[in-house]
């Protein structure tokens, strides 16, 4: 009895014991869930397995900008269309939310009373209204736009209706590949110039106009080449034929509603993160750099932002993850994302609920972990490096 007591008073033993117990219970729980599910599926004669993935889907998906999807394609193709659509709206949303979030965060610290108030109201309103309602609100507004036959038109090239925004589609002709190569070369040389300029500045203190030379290389050089070889690009203009516009490019209201709602909602959170990041840099830093005679824009760019980023990036990562996961609400307005297409229609047509949900969850997990990995690498690169 006494030795037993001693055993438990050993901190190391106790900690191992309880950890093993918790892991054991957890494993037992998982085992229980899997067993019960399997048992019940069998009892209800519900067929399981992954074979359905190679069966033809039988339905159409209209919003598939990357893959030309037909109803004879398989459920696996439905999955890929869904993943790409999820990534598309998440990617666009993350970029736009970051830009808007930084802008609003900085505005809230400005001295303009009106701007500060407007930004404050925006942040408080969007943060405190459920995202789903905002998505539905945007969609309801968008489908109240004029009908397709009464589209608003701009210069006979852009058409706006409740079927989306139609714009001309660029058609690349032979020879355009040279322009494309020129753009890539311009990017590479700008990068080399930047490194060279930094090295020269470190050694001699002389500065080189990196930004304007990069601009010249990336924009003007390919543009010149484009005209020299005779503009190898034309446009395919949308035109109203029958029921819909034919030709051109279209951005659907479902996408716009999702993009706007996700961006505006997440940007409100990001702006608060940015504000707290900037406020975390002590006043002394600003004063010290000012006393060195640095320009105001330099103080922000070279002193404040790099230090603020250390505070901003970790919560920013979780905002990116939130945005990506929130894109699954696209189902509310029929945006053909992963949950709507594969996790919804395929699931329902095949009845393979568990298989579809496992795949969908694993996909979100993979996307989220990938975002985290890249953000962590970035985070490490901006951390304070102790010499």
């Amino acid at each position: 009895m006494r030795s037993n007591l001693n055993f438990f008073s050993d901190e190391k033993f106790r900690s191992i014991f309880f950890q093993t117990l918790v892991i054991g219970l957890f494993a037992l729980g998982i085992y229980f869930v899997v067993q019960t599910t399997g048992y019940n599926l069998e009892k209800r004669n519900i067929a399981t397995g992954w074979r359905f993935l190679s069966d033809p889907a039988g339905f159409d998906i209209s919003f598939s900008p990357f893959i030309n999807f037909k109803s004879t394609d398989t459920h696996l193709d439905v999955y890929f269309v869904g993943v790409l659509n999820t990534l598309l709206v998440s990617f666009c949303g993350c970029i736009a939310a970051t830009i808007l979030g930084f802008l609003v965060g900085i505005i809230r610290l400005s001295s303009n009373w009106l701007l500060v108030r407007v930004a404050y109201i925006y942040v408080e309103f969007t943060r405190n209204v459920p995202l789903l309602l905002q998505i539905i609100l945007w969609y309801s507004i968008l489908i109240q736009l004029p009908r397709v036959k009464q589209s608003l038109e701009f210069l006979d090239t852009f058409f706006i209706s409740n079927r989306g925004i139609y714009s001309p589609r660029p058609v690349f002709e032979t020879g355009f590949s040279y322009v494309f190569i020129a753009i890539i070369l311009a990017f590479i040389s700008s990068f080399i110039i930047r490194r060279w300029a930094k090295k020269r500045q470190d050694e001699t203190g002389k500065q080189f106009p990196v930004l304007s030379s990069a601009f010249g290389l990336i924009i003007i050089l390919p543009l010149l080449l484009f005209f020299i070889i005779g503009s190898p690009m034309s446009f395919d203009y949308p035109a109203l034929k029958g029921f819909n516009f034919k030709g051109g490019m279209v951005i659907r209201p479902e996408f716009i509603a999702m993009f706007l709602a996700l961006t505006i909602y997440t940007a409100a959170f990001i702006s608060e993160t940015v504000r707290s990041g900037i406020l975390s840099v002590t006043k002394g830093q600003r004063e010290a750099s000012a006393s060195l005679g640095l320009k105001k824009s330099w103080i922000m760019r070279l002193i404040i932002i790099p230090q603020a980023l250390r505070v901003i990036v970790p919560p920013l990562t979780s905002q990116y993850l939130n945005l990506t996961k929130n894109s699954s609400l696209g189902i509310a307005v029929g945006y053909a994302d992963l949950v709507h297409g594969f996790g919804g229609i395929s699931l329902n047509q095949t009845g393979q609920a568990i298989e579809c949900m496992v795949i969908v969850m694993a996909t979100y997990l993979t996307i989220s972990l990938t975002i985290s990995v890249f953000m962590n690498i970035y985070n490490r690169s901006i951390q304070f490096k102790e010499k």
Partner: protein, 334 residues
């Protein structure tokens, strides 16, 4: 550990023991019936908030068969997508929800269709201002389509077969379809012809909408239960059959009491005067009498909910009795 495992084993057993739906329903005291989120004529709350419609009557008929009381039913709304999991998980005892009987649903999903309470087919509805008179002229149109339905698959097949293109606008519920069609987000709404009639009846100006003549599929709609519980399947099947047979025999809610002294043997068997069919089903002897008394025969339910005198204005057509040019047919009551 042994004790723990046996507790788990008991729980597993308790979770999975769901044979005997009839007993479960009797013990619970009311029937849980899965219906649509609202489709006038089939299942939708009426002016007084009571569920009404052909499918709602189907639910009530089963409740009457089990309890002898048409009010002993809880209506649970399901979307096209949620209906099957809802039934499979045991959240409802049966579905009467405009559900098409197909082989994959019958076999692969683990359900059992017990009959057909409405023979339907998929059609198209458009604004009459579009000037379209046939579905083959719909090249390039945007089509509103309820996801997770057989109509979604038929639609793809139809356009593929005719070599014309379309853009699908996926929607979840009939209301969403209505909203998008009326706003002009889509040109065409496609679903079962009965559903289109119901949607058209709900429009502000029904004359502005046109249901195209093409019927592109067979859609036998019927109630279904979980596969494997044959006793319960029989109860639902014969509740439906009793209504059809009653129409065939000319027994209605009005003359049912007088018919008890009929000299037609099948009428007497149906009304429980002769034979012990109620006992075989583990129901009261007068279960079918009560269905006819409280709900009516098939014809009464049809005429009250979807027939020519209702806003839906659907003629009997295929849904007439086999003796009257339709295909409605129930096995003999003996």
């Amino acid at each position: 550990m042994k004790k723990l495992l046996s507790i788990f084993a008991v729980t597993v057993f308790a979770f999975s023991a769901n044979a005997g739906t009839l007993d479960d329903v009797k013990n619970r005291g009311f029937l849980k019936c899965g219906v649509t989120t609202g489709l006038a004529g089939f299942a939708a709350p009426d002016d007084s908030g009571e569920w009404a419609g052909l499918d709602a009557d189907m639910c009530r008929a089963v409740a009457v068969a089990v309890f002898g009381d048409r009010s002993k039913v809880e209506f649970i709304t399901t979307t096209g997508k949620s209906r099957f999991p809802t039934l499979a998980s045991g959240e409802v005892d049966m579905l009467a929800r405009n559900t098409t009987w197909t082989i994959s649903r019958d076999v692969n999903l683990g359900f059992e269709f017990v009959g057909v309470n409405f023979y339907d087919g998929q059609g198209f509805m458009i604004p009459s201002s579009l000037g379209v008179s046939s579905a083959t002229e719909l090249d390039g149109a945007t089509v509103c389509i309820q996801t997770g339905t057989t109509t979604e698959l038929n639609l793809a097949d139809f356009f593929r077969l005719n070599g014309i293109s379309y853009e699908a606008l996926p929607i979840e519920t009939n209301d969403e379809g209505k909203e998008n069609l009326f706003a002009g987000r889509c040109d065409v709404y496609t679903t079962d012809a009965s559903g289109l009639s119901s949607t058209r009846a709900a429009a502000a100006d029904p004359g502005k909408w046109l249901v195209l003549p093409e019927i592109i599929s067979k859609e036998p709609l019927g109630p279904l239960v979980r596969h494997g519980d044959h006793q319960w399947g029989d109860v639902v099947r014969w509740s439906l059959n009793a209504m059809i047979i009653a129409e065939e025999l000319g027994v209605s809610s009005e003359n049912v009491d007088a018919q008890k002294s009929s000299n037609v043997p099948e009428v007497l068997r149906l009304l429980g005067v002769e034979g012990s069919y109620g006992e075989m089903l583990e129901l009261a002897p007068d279960w079918a009498y009560q269905i006819i008394k409280q709900i009516g025969n098939y014809s009464e339910s049809y005429e009250a909910n979807v027939g020519p005198d209702t806003p839906l204005e659907i003629a009997r057509g295929l849904n007439a009795l086999w003796t009257q040019g339709g295909i409605l047919y129930a096995p003999p009551f003996r």
